[in-house]
C-alpha cells in the first residue's frame, strides 16, 4: 500500500506569499525612510562638532570655517533624496546635494560647495570629514533600526 501524504493550509501560505509580494516594497520604503532619518540626524550631530574660527583670508597655510559657514550648514541640514524604486530595491541618498544657495559675506554661494570645502578640505581650508565620520558610525545604527522595522512589519502582517 503506497504511503499517503496530506498537507493542509497551502491556500493560506499562498495567500500570505501574495500579500508579502504586494506589501514588501511599501515596508522596505518605510524602513529606508527610518534609516535615512537616522543618518540625517547623525550628520547633523557631526556638523555641530565643526571647529570654527573668525573669517580671515588664508594666504599661506590653512584656515578653519567661519561661524557663518557653520551656521549655513546647520540651517540647511542633510536632506533625504526622492526614493528610487526600481525592480527589487529601494534606494535613496542623504546629503546636501539639493540644499540650494545661501548668502555668505554678501555673495550668493551654493551650499553643497560650502559643505564640500569643509568636509573634504581645500588648499586653504582644513579638512573636517564630518559626513564620512557620520556615515561610518551611523550606518550600523541605521541598519539595526531598519531591520527591526522590517521584522515588526512582517510580524504584524502574519497576525
Amino acid at each position: 500500500m503506497p504511503y499517503q501524504m496530506k498537507v493542509d493550509g497551502m491556500a493560506e501560505i499562498s495567500e500570505l506569499l501574495e500579500k508579502m509580494d504586494k506589501e514588501a516594497p511599501g515596508i522596505a520604503a518605510q524602513a529606508l525612510y527610518e534609516g535615512a532619518g537616522i543618518m540625517s540626524a547623525e550628520i547633523r550631530k557631526g556638523a555641530e562638532t565643526i571647529r570654527t574660527a573668525p573669517f580671515k583670508y588664508a594666504r599661506e597655510g590653512e584656515r578653519l570655517p567661519s561661524p557663518e559657514e557653520k551656521e549655513i550648514i546647520l540651517q540647511a541640514g542633510a536632506g533625504i533624496a526622492k526614493f528610487d524604486k526600481g525592480g527589487t530595491e529601494v534606494n535613496t541618498s542623504v546629503g546636501y546635494r539639493a540644499s540650494g544657495y545661501a548668502d555668505l559675506n554678501g555673495k550668493t554661494k551654493p551650499i553643497p560647495l560650502i559643505v564640500n570645502a569643509v568636509n573634504s578640505g581645500t588648499s586653504f581650508m582644513k579638512k573636517q570629514p564630518f559626513i564620512r565620520k557620520a556615515a561610518n558610525s551611523g550606518s550600523p545604527k541605521a541598519m539595526a533600526a531598519m531591520k527591526a522595522k522590517i521584522e515588526k512589519a512582517f510580524e504584524d502582517m502574519n497576525k
Binding site: 599661506e60 597655510g61 573634504s120 581645500t122 588648499s123 586653504f124 579638512k127 564620512r132 561610518n136
Partner: protein, 129 residues
C-alpha cells in the same frame, strides 16, 4: 600612531610629490600632497580589550596643471596599493576656481600591525620509558 600609517607616510615622502602631514604652513609651488589620520574606523574586541584597531585617514593631492594628472595620480595610487593593500578608495575629485588647483582625495584604512614575533617552538619532551 598605527605602524601602517607610519609606513604610508614614509612611502609617500619618497615619491616625487612633496607630502606633509596634517597640512602645510607654507604651501609649496606646484603639486603637493597632504596625508592625515581622521578617526577610528572600528575595532575587533576580545578578552575585554581592543584586539585589532582600524583607523581611517585621507590623502589629498593638489596640482595646478591638468597635464600632470595621470602621472601624479598613478604615483599616489601605487604607493597606497603597496602599503595598505586594497583598503583604499578614491573619495572625490574637485576643482578650486579661486586658486585654479585640482584636488583629488583618497580615503584609506590602516591597522596597527605589530612586527611578527618569531614563533617559539617548545622543546620536544622526550618520551619517557
Amino acid at each position: 600612531m598605527p605602524s601602517e600609517y607610519e609606513a604610508l607616510v614614509a612611502a609617500l615622502k619618497l615619491t616625487s610629490i612633496p607630502f606633509a602631514e596634517y597640512g602645510w604652513k607654507t604651501r609649496p609651488e606646484g603639486a603637493y600632497g597632504v596625508v592625515q589620520l581622521d578617526f577610528e574606523a572600528g575595532s575587533l574586541n576580545g578578552d575585554g580589550a581592543k584586539a585589532d584597531r582600524a583607523w581611517e585617514g585621507s590623502v589629498d593631492l593638489f596640482y595646478p596643471k591638468l597635464s600632470d594628472r595621470t602621472d601624479l595620480i598613478d604615483e599616489v595610487e601605487e604607493t597606497l596599493a603597496e602599503v595598505v593593500g586594497d583598503s583604499w578608495s578614491l573619495n572625490s575629485t574637485q576643482y578650486e576656481t579661486g586658486t585654479g588647483l585640482f584636488h583629488v582625495e583618497w580615503v584609506f584604512q590602516c591597522m596597527d600591525t605589530p612586527e611578527d614575533e618569531p614563533e617559539v617552538i617548545p622543546d620536544a619532551v622526550p618520551d619517557e620509558g
